[in-house]
């Protein structure tokens, strides 16, 4: 049910990401202060923005889950959060590399965006341990949703607190004293952001398709041969521990 339009979406993603890479290296001007390392901006910032939006989307899906009780909303929320976690790792690593190259430190505590991103990341790292330590699938969905809603509300508050606590020392690519980025940088950035967002949606849909078809397959298999369940030890043994709809998180 999630597979519809996946092919078009994948092709669009490849095209836009390819365009973004081309623009990054051949169209966007070289930064006067930072040189070629500034190009990581077109990867790092889209990663971070899409990851944060994914966390928020996970919270919105979780609200839907709590309101309707539908398991499919929980799946959407779960997949969105776990993909965002993967992107967040990427954002932290690229941010660290950029910080090292332009300020000389691997980590910069005076940068509120970086610090609050780390805190949000640490919080969401707890999502999967919480989720997989609850065995009942229905309760798992509800508890995970409650966590996703609370964490989604936490993101802006945390950002505000960290920002208030930090002395601003790094006006950077956005809003420099000379008046913002050149148009060509903006255009490249927007294409890169679009590409990253498309990549996220494609991956999200792919994983949901895989999960729902596996669920369907399990259902059909059980209906076909109720007795053979014991005959298939790997599946039967696994399912006694965990609900069949919950595969081990695939990073």
């Amino acid at each position: 049910m999630y597979g519809k339009g996946l092919r078009t979406l994948s092709i669009a993603t490849v095209l836009v990401m390819g365009a973004a890479a081309t623009l990054t290296f051949f169209y966007a001007p070289l930064d006067a202060d930072q040189g070629v390392i500034q190009k990581i901006f077109y990867l790092h910032v889209p990663l971070a923005i899409v990851a944060l939006c994914g966390f928020i989307a996970g919270g919105v899906f979780a609200i839907q889950q709590l309101r309707t009780g539908g398991r499919e909303w929980d799946m959407r929320s779960y997949v969105a959060i776990h993909l965002s976690l993967v992107l967040a790792v990427g954002a932290l690593i690229t941010g660290s590399i950029w910080a090292r190259a332009s300020w000389g430190h691997w980590w910069e505590w005076n940068e509120p965006v970086l610090v609050s991103f780390l805190i949000v990341f640490l919080l969401y790292c707890c999502y999967q341990p919480l989720r997989f330590s609850i065995s009942d699938p229905e309760r798992q969905a509800r508890y995970a949703s409650v966590f996703a809603v609370a964490a989604g509300a936490f993101v802006p508050i945390n950002f505000a607190a960290v920002r208030m606590a930090t002395a601003h020392v790094h006006p950077r690519v956005f809003g420099t004293t000379t008046g913002g980025m050149p148009t060509r940088m903006w255009e490249t950035f927007l294409v890169a952001l679009l590409g990253m967002a498309l990549l996220f949606i494609t991956l999200w849909k792919t994983e949901l398709t895989a999960k729902s078809s596996r669920e369907q397959l399990n259902r059909l298999r059980r209906r076909l041969a109720p007795e053979t369940d014991e005959a298939a030890p790997p599946l039967a043994g696994h399912e006694a521990e965990q609900p069949p709809t919950e595969p081990v998180p695939a990073h």
Partner: protein, 225 residues
Amino acid sequence: MTLRAALAILRKDLAIELRTRQSVPAMVLFSVTVFVLFHFGLDRDELDGPLASGVLWVTLLLATVLAVNRLFASEREDGALEGILLAPIDRTSVYLAKAAALFLYLVVFELVALPAFAILLLGPNLLDAFPALLAILLLADVGLAALGALVAGLAAETRARDLIVPLLLLPLLVPLLISAAKASQPLLALQPRAHELGKWLGFLALYDLVFVLLAVAVFDFLLED
């Protein structure tokens, strides 16, 4: 009705705590131990300013984790939670009672831990900081209680409960730690003064408001079986 039920559960929790003396004494002992650890870890006899404020608040947060771990202990035993859920009461009352119990534990705990901190580690006189520090503590306790009870509810049904509570609670408390520690810093300095106190108290109040409302809204879903 909700409030009466909440008061009944709160009375039960306080009676258990008074007779078994589990959470609060453990928190006090823990905090004194942590002060000793900081004394040796930092190799300092007296602290002031940012260092004092940081040591105090990190210790209070870690001690809160102990109480949060125990918050649903009596409900987990012998299916007591099912008993409460069978009663024709609003589920929110369970949350309100637990948060109120945690708030009271924290207040009593701080009544002992704060003087202990002043005697063991604090350089400047604690009394100079007092009225402002009291306001910070009370607002922070509301936030700690609101989130602590929510996280306790979230973790109560999980297998790895003792691991989940600190991992979940501490990141959620970072904004609270930032504002409380920032607000206390100038108060615990060698020349105590209030600097940006209103800003941080306002932020703490906002944080409390958001998470109390949020927890009341979502807690029902944790008890829905």
